[in-house]
Amino acid sequence: MITQEQKEKALAILADRADPKLQTHLNSCVRCGLCADSCIYYKAYGEAQYIPAAKVNMITSLYRRYHTTEGKLLPGLVGTRKLNEETAQKMVDLFFGSCTLCGRCAKHCSIGVDIPFLVGKGREMLAAMEIIPKSLQATADMAIQTGNNMGIPVDEFRDTIQWMEEELQEELGDAEAQIPLDETNKQILYTLNPREPKFFPLSIAAMAKIFHAAKESWTISSNYYDVTNYGFFCGNNAQASVMARNLYEETYRLQAKRLVLGECGHGTRAIRWEGPNWLKTTYDFDALSALELIGEYIRQGRIHLDKSLNQKVCTLHDPCNLVRNGGLLKEMRFVVRSAVTHFTEMTPCGTDNFCCGGGGGNLAMSEYNERRLKIGKIKADQIRQTGVKVVITPCHNCVDQLTQLNHTYKLGVEIKTVAEIVADALIINKE
């Protein structure tokens, strides 16, 4: 049972007069249904409940019922819904289990309704009622309690970094090559997805190799290196702010000039774009993605690449948060094309790309695993059609989902991050 207090907290979110976008998008959808084919959920299932407008309607019907005169006077006529236990459960399924916040529908909507923005508001309502899928909430809580979403102890992290440093020195034949930890006054504070130290430490070594080649002055914090932000996915702005603040304050504590966000789509979005608004301040340091930094190195001639070292045919998966919601379409292609010999695009791609299915916190919500793999078939089919051997993507969440799709749909491809493919093409000047 949801209490009156929970209800009031949730409904107050729809009455927020300070939010300039809210009223507009709550009143814009005409339920034409033309967004249906833009959504991976509807494409995979063909059921009306997965049409983006159905997700919009879930929240707008509550808005009309509780916050409009016509909804109060003519509830049956204008389409309203009461907020009760049953509605709350449907909201969980629609806002968490049926939307990756990819934003593809908003771009193609006949009106311009910001559907993921409204789904995000729906998540905020559920967070206010403390009805969040347990697995997702646990991931966010872990990040708050330990500083990283996987709860990796600091000692274990340090050991992993040291191990990677030795690997790097061996690969480069240079005992001076370093992965600096907790050093102050460096140009760059570099962040990671905790999946890297936990499961894919070689991607840390790949980025370290790039830093080494660029002769960069950089460091990683052993306390706050987690670029992910599961508070954002939970719709819990208080938690999201804590996570953003951790990185913000760590940048100051270590006196770094730039905060470089490791290859993570939602993490980059959360810190780069949403963070200043959560923290109610502008950053007086640069916050940029690793991808942009690598692009900068190539343009400035700080690193040199030999495309012939990457001979296999490659394609690119556009992470929704970096491309549609982050404007990095061209930069990503510039970097990848500089590092590989044969490149081909998926259809559709760029700002029209389909989400891999792992976005919106999906990978952390085991209760939706089956659905996640089913919607991912669209991406798997796209990859198969290209006939490539390597799929590159600058997001560890996407890497995880693509790896599972590779296994489930037997694609027989390698999945690589941008740093890995660039590191493979690096010409290291031994002098």
């Binding site: 939010d19 976008k21 204008v78 919601n325």
Partner: protein, 206 residues
């Protein structure tokens, strides 16, 4: 001026007042106060949002559904003609102006076409399962009222009884700010905000 003219004008005033209040609310809330450092141009993004982003080749809602998109365009054209015709009818009632001969057949032709599109859109909603599941009374009512208004306008050009015409026009103006038809205003705000979002992040223009 007869009483039904005044009735229709009163509903128009009601409609206008509600829209003006909402417009003021939108303006008062202002543009999003985004503190992140932009990597693109809001102005260019907004311009793109109102222009190229609206082209049928750039929106799946248009290029995957050409008949519905076309019908929607014609239907909306019919609304514009009907509203202009209403203003004209009121002016002729006040000043006794005569309608140029070319206007009635031309408008009637357009309005019959747009009404047909309205009926087709309504039928689609009734018969398509997924769309029906998405719909509430407002969806049927809004399309029906607007279609009826267009048909009534077409009929009134040929001097049918003024009472049904002004009654339907009044219903139209009463419903416009209440039903989903209020997107007449919010459409422009939504496109501005989408352009703001994508423009600031450098996603638009493409």
């Amino acid at each position: 001026m007869e009483w039904y003219h005044w009735m229709a004008l009163a509903t128009l005033l009601f409609c206008k007042t509600l829209f003006v209040i909402r417009l003021i609310e939108i303006i008062k809330r202002g543009a999003p106060n985004d503190l992140s450092k932009p990597s693109g141009s809001v102005a260019k993004g907004v311009r793109y949002s109102y222009t190229k982003a609206m082209l049928p080749q750039n929106k799946e809602s248009a290029y995957l559904h050409p008949p519905t998109f076309g019908a929607g365009l014609i239907f909306h054209g019919g609304i514009l003609i009907s509203i202009l015709a209403f203003i004209w009818f009121i002016l002729t009632a006040i000043f006794g102006w005569a309608t140029p001969e070319i206007i009635p057949p031309l408008c009637c032709l357009c309005l019959l076409g747009s009404s047909f599109c309205g009926v087709a859109i309504l039928c689609k909603r009734v018969f398509k399962r997924a769309l029906r599941a998405l719909s509430c009374a407002d969806d049927y009512l809004s399309t029906a009222i607007v279609t009826l208004f267009q048909l009534a306008t077409a009929g009134y050009f040929y001097h049918s009884d003024p009472l049904p015409y002004y009654a339907i026009a009044s219903l139209f103006f009463l419903w416009l700010p209440i039903g989903k038809t209020r997107h007449l205003l919010y459409f422009f705000a939504a496109r501005y905000q989408l352009g703001f979002f994508y423009g600031r992040r450098g996603t638009w223009p493409q």
